[in-house]
Symmetry: C7
Subunit: 76 residues, 7 copies
Amino acid sequence: MSETTLTILASSIGNQIFVRLKGGKEFRGRLKSYDQHLNIVLEDAEELRQNGEPKKHGLILIRGDSIVLISPVPKS
Amino acid sequence: MSETTLTILASSIGNQIFVRLKGGKEFRGRLKSYDQHLNIVLEDAEELRQNGEPKKHGLILIRGDSIVLISPVPKS
Amino acid sequence: MSETTLTILASSIGNQIFVRLKGGKEFRGRLKSYDQHLNIVLEDAEELRQNGEPKKHGLILIRGDSIVLISPVPKS
Amino acid sequence: MSETTLTILASSIGNQIFVRLKGGKEFRGRLKSYDQHLNIVLEDAEELRQNGEPKKHGLILIRGDSIVLISPVPKS
Amino acid sequence: MSETTLTILASSIGNQIFVRLKGGKEFRGRLKSYDQHLNIVLEDAEELRQNGEPKKHGLILIRGDSIVLISPVPKS
Amino acid sequence: MSETTLTILASSIGNQIFVRLKGGKEFRGRLKSYDQHLNIVLEDAEELRQNGEPKKHGLILIRGDSIVLISPVPKS
Amino acid sequence: MSETTLTILASSIGNQIFVRLKGGKEFRGRLKSYDQHLNIVLEDAEELRQNGEPKKHGLILIRGDSIVLISPVPKS
């Protein structure tokens, strides 16, 4: 295993990531920091909504144990 | 990782933060203290409600494992 | 962090506190003791009910991992 | 904290206690033993029911992590 | 505490026990072994059903963290 | 306790076992390996379905903390 | 136990795997890395949907404690 699972986070610092939580809530924001529990801090975070505009949260700390998946957002 | 996830809390001591719990309850209050389990103490805490006035709680201790996300409230 | 999260409990020994559990049950009683797992013992505990009189429990031990939040009840 | 949370159990050995589980099931019985995980053993245990007679279980071991609260039953 | 909670299991080896799981499923069988996580192995295990005949499972290993309560079945 | 709970798995390597998960899903397959967390690997695994044919999965790794019970399938 | 449960992952690096999460969501992608918590990173990941086209996610990190089962996809 030449690459650890957290490498995906290390290489996403400063970039947009997508996060899905247990229960289905989804967030997008710029990854500012993370730790080994998968707690993450996002800047300019937005909560995506089924219908309508995303809700803006600014800076948020998401607890790792609420997270189901994390995905880097491709730069367009 | 030059900045830990808890820095966001350290720099919010004495300031308003927003907290969302598992199940969707939301609180706002002045961060008085926290620990590494993400247990937090809020002063002048209010529980936000879908409809109507927030419910005032005063000083509250919220268990870390109930917390989904924490966000500093921008000073206006 | 000059003050730990548990200070709120240490300074509430002998005083009324309010406790909300996962699932929404709420209790009130005089804090007799607590430990680092947030297990707490209340004297003269009452279970608050949506409609009607609180249910009296006397002395109760509540497991910490059932607790969402704890709040000292202001002395009136 | 001159008294630990488990003191309430130590002083209830041989006496009736009331136990409420996650999900709301309730039991009553004579406390025979307990451990630091809050696993408890009850003698002459009964499961209380909303309607009708309690269900008799005899000797039971209840896992601590199923327990929400424990209360000594006052001697009448 | 002169007797540990697991004593009830130690003295039930080879005897019928009743087990209730989270979610309410119930099993009965002869206790073959257990460990400190409360994982248990039953022989001639049956799953009790609200209506109708028990379902026969033979030998089963039940994970401790699925278990709510265990009770020795009195010899008749 | 002359026999540990995991003995039932050790002696089932290469044989058919039945596995029930939290939520009720059921699988059957040949036990290839397991570990102390009760993570298990099944070969020629099938997911049993209430109605109709089992769904074939081939080789699967099931996380231990999803498992409720494991039972060796008697050789017929 | 000549083969550990994680061997199935080690030998799947670079190959397609299928992952089912708690709650029933299903993903497919090329396994890039994993760790001992069963956190996994998938490349070219797709989320399978009951009806219609899979949703493309690209690179994703899935938290181990959300995972129920993992299965290598046979090469066709």
